[in-house]
């Protein structure tokens, strides 16, 4: 950077000598803030658990109310699927403190890891987000169609239309996520180019 112009030097001086607010934190203040931050994360996790538990309780209530074995099996599968989904959401959650090895990672490494994590979550959405709910929904649809043969003249048709609508929604969500995963892969490739 020996070819630096006087103007560039002036700008650097201007930048480096600008007035700052002098925000300082003692170690004691840092420790207190870190504790508050940790409690915020715990609070957020608790809210997620409560929301998942509320859905599971609702399905459990329906399970308990249902007389038909197949309906019960459907709700049992939905409960299992919801529990798995909630655990996956928690395990893949992005709202956390910066990793302790942040100083070991360059921005390219740090960002690459984050993008890979998001890409993997999006590209495997059928396995951990949509898929776990499918068995319960399918069994419930069959159970409802079977349990009410005379209730609607075209019960199976209604079940089929409903099933097709749910399947279309799931496929649409899956495709959106695949497209987002491809976009992230492009960003990863660009990062890799920058590191070469």
């Amino acid at each position: 950077m020996n070819d630096e112009s006087p103007q560039d030097r002036e700008l650097k001086e201007l930048w480096q000598n600008q007035k700052t607010e002098g925000v300082r934190m003692s170690v004691a203040e840092i420790q207190a803030s870190a504790g508050r931050f940790q409690r915020r994360i715990q609070g957020r996790n608790l809210r997620e658990y409560v929301a998942a538990a509320a859905v599971v309780v609702f399905f459990a209530f329906e399970f308990w109310r249902a007389g038909d074995v197949l309906v019960r099996a459907g709700f049992a599968l939905l409960i299992a699927g919801m529990c798995y989904l909630a655990w996956q959401l928690h395990a893949r959650g992005s709202w956390s403190a910066l990793p302790r090895d942040a100083g070991l990672s360059t921005y390219v490494e740090f960002k690459r890891r984050e993008l890979e994590r998001q890409r993997d979550a999006l590209s495997s959405v059928w396995r951990w987000y949509l898929g776990p709910l499918v068995p319960g929904l399918v069994v419930l649809m069959i159970a409802f169609g079977r349990a009410n043969p005379g209730h609607l003249p075209h019960m199976w048709l209604a079940v089929g239309v409903y099933g097709a609508a749910v399947a279309a929604l799931f496929i649409w969500i899956g495709r959106l996520n695949s497209a987002a995963a491809r976009k992230l892969q492009k960003e990863i490739d660009e990062l890799d180019e920058g590191g070469q």
Binding site: M25, I30, D101, L191, G194
Partner: protein
């Protein structure tokens, strides 16, 4: 016996705390400038500075001297600030440009010879804030007077790419701040993203 076993842990904590005091004392002002480059809102910026300091203090447990304390501090600070920008991106709809586009981007005040001190600082920040995080890191490192090797060590870019980016930074600064400059072309839409 417990007291003896706790001694190494206490010693490590003291090491971390003293390193933190050293880092905050030496780089405190630079970290504030860095935070200003990532966050324009003064209140949110104070939170960001605190977040950086907390991340730095936590991370210093793992500091093993494989890189300099300065590199460590800047890596933690930039990674924290870039995460902050990514979070804000999810909330808002701000788009950033690369240095390539910034060269062509006019801010409407090029070539003014007698620009007030405050204006120049504001214009510098206006320029820095519109850059993608990676380009922003290189720009901040350049303005902080770091050499290309240090910038490469912090960002993870190759030395060749850092050199290219610094060349573009000089072009941008020339267009924006030197008398007689005159970038008037509009900004293309392609290539804008969060990175």
């Amino acid at each position: 016996m417990d007291v003896e076993q706790n001694q190494p842990m206490k010693h490590a904590e003291q090491n971390r705390d003293s390193r933190f005091e050293e880092a905050a004392g030496t780089y405190g002002s630079a970290l504030e400038r860095l935070a200003r480059a990532y966050e324009a809102d003064p209140d949110v910026r104070r939170d960001l500075i605190q977040e950086i300091l907390i991340a730095l203090w936590s991370s210093l447990d793992g500091f093993d001297g494989r890189c300099s304390l300065r590199t460590w501090v800047y890596r933690v600070a930039h990674n924290t600030a870039a995460s902050h920008v990514a979070r804000r991106m999810r909330i808002g709809s701000r788009v950033f440009v690369g240095l390539e586009e910034a060269v062509e981007l006019a801010d409407g005040t090029e070539g003014e010879a007698a620009v007030e001190y405050r204006d120049q600082i504001d214009r510098l920040y206006a320029l820095v804030e519109q850059l993608k995080p990676l380009d922003r890191q290189v720009m901040v490192a350049y303005l902080e007077g770091m050499d290309a090797a240090s910038t490469a060590e912090i960002t993870g870019l190759s030395a060749r790419n850092v050199a290219t980016k610094i060349h573009r930074i000089k072009q941008v600064l020339a267009r924006r701040f030197r008398a007689g400059g005159g970038a008037t072309q509009g900004l293309g839409e392609g290539g804008r993203d969060e990175r």
